[in-house]
Assembly symmetry: C2
Homo-oligomer: 302 residues x 2
């Protein structure tokens, strides 16, 4: 491990810890919420995970000299959305998964009705969290509204939910690589693009800088998902916390299925380079952490 | 039918028609959305319904001299939230209803997975719609953010979803009228309070006026739900579009169950009067339509 990669590990761990702390506080104990609903929400929210999306919000804000404090409610929002999507995706009517990250899935613990409601409440709470960037931390109202709109687009029918719907509809077998790319783009890249742009908005990014963050996020998200496809095949159960090839079992197709393992790995490298180029050709003053995150993700083994 | 009640019928019908038109346009054909997802969303969104919540947004805005145009995206948002809640409530894991308003429920037509995703997408789109009040119609950014926050609270874990969770948890039999009141308040009143306050925000309402709208909405929402309980028992199948006493069958309890039919009807009258008093004692300049809507709801037979 060289000095830079050591640094980025520390950077990621430190930011992940800040995110964990903020996540623990996002549903104040004083709020009047039925206890089973609160437990169900907390269970999935605090079930671990890499917290990559919130870290990207913070890193993008930092790259442009923005306030970490104002960026945190947005970081929390994207983790709330990511968590709700996992809770709903795991449902029997969807992927029907019993385990996630080595723990029982939400509906296995709290029942299907509560898992549906917890997902709904987590999604709704994400939009609450966004508003606090303005209300509590003084982020500009029109920027926070832009963030709200972008989350609604990128997590909605044209974004993540659309990707999930296409995934469900295509489960009987996809016929084209384009279909898989559509699914990966919307299920994965869209939330990463949101995270980066939202951090940019908080820091007052220009349109050109937002566009560079979009390009970075789009390529990085696709690389991340192809890497996931690869790891799903070569990874071992312990590291992933779920049975290896669980996707293959369900007849889902992956990038290696279409173009082979070696070409998939090549694609991850190309996309990562493409992502980095977008930042390097932009006016973003301090892109180093974002560039290091791109390399870190490419080299991860889980 | 006297002149006033005739007028309010025309007023409601005209506003409902405007809402229908706007609802038809809220998911532009040009948007790239998987077709089954779009159809599933459209199916429930355009499945009829009284459009009462959006009408209340518009009526509250008008009562304070606000712009109907700027209020419309908010009116659409609340109908999107109401619709998503019905789609998810009807799911097999929840109320397991096959019919709503005389039509097959969403999951009976599109399957459970698509119904879950359509609900998620409708909820997400509601927040998109809110942002358009600022972006397209010039509503003040800080007011629109306040509306966003209030929707997230009143439709979330502390609001509607909390009410639904309490309803699910209490299905084995409630022991107290207070529990039922909690459920009715959050499942029904909260979105009505939101609708009225949001219309107020668009019109630049003062804190005192917003508070009057909250009181009006809270009492009116409870009256509305008790009236629903009553109609569920005395109504006939054709008018309601679902089997009479379907709630009783599922061991759910209602206001008449606790305090009897006559006392329930009395309570509807008292709450309606309480609602009207809140407006009459406020500085809201033109409360007439809202007052008439309160009477209209009390007298409805479906």
């Amino acid at each position: 491990m060289n000095n830079t990669s050591s640094n980025i590990h520390i950077y990621i761990a430190a930011h992940a810890e800040q995110v964990e702390t903020a996540l623990r506080q996002t549903l104040p104990a004083a709020w009047d919420v039925p206890s089973s609903l609160r437990e169900s929400m907390d269970y999935s929210l605090m079930a671990g995970g890499k917290r990559l999306r919130p870290i990207m919000v913070l890193a993008a804000a930092e790259a442009l000299g923005g306030s970490l404090e104002a960026a945190m409610p947005i970081a929390i929002a994207i983790e709330l959305v990511h968590t709700y999507s996992l809770v709903h995706d795991d449902l029997p009517a969807m992927d029907n998964d019993d385990y996630r990250r080595g723990k029982l899935t939400n509906h296995k613990v709290y029942g299907e009705a509560m898992a549906i409601l917890a997902g709904d409440a987590l999604l709704t709470h994400a939009f609450y969290s966004i508003t606090q960037a303005h209300k509590k931390h003084g982020a500009q109202a029109d920027r926070v509204l832009a963030i709200t709109e972008e989350l609604a687009v990128l997590a909605g029918a044209r974004g993540m939910v659309g990707g999930q719907a296409a995934d469900m509809l295509g489960e009987q077998g996809l016929t084209k690589l384009e279909e898989l790319t559509y699914i990966h783009t919307h299920k994965t890249s869209d939330l990463i693009v949101f995270s980066l742009r939202a951090g940019g908005h908080i820091a007052g990014a220009t349109d050109e800088q937002l566009e560079a963050l979009s390009k970075f996020g789009h390529a990085l998200g696709l690389a991340f998902q192809i890497q996931d496809d690869i790891l799903d095949i070569i990874g071992d159960e312990k590291k992933l916390g779920k049975p290896v090839k669980s996707d293959e079992k369900q007849m889902k197709v992956t990038f290696p299925y279409f173009i082979g393992m070696e070409a998939s790995e090549q694609r991850v490298h190309e996309l990562t380079q493409q992502a980095k180029d977008a930042l390097n050709h932009s006016t973003i003053a301090n892109p180093d952490r974002l560039l290091q995150i791109a390399d870190y993700l490419m080299k991860r083994d889980h």
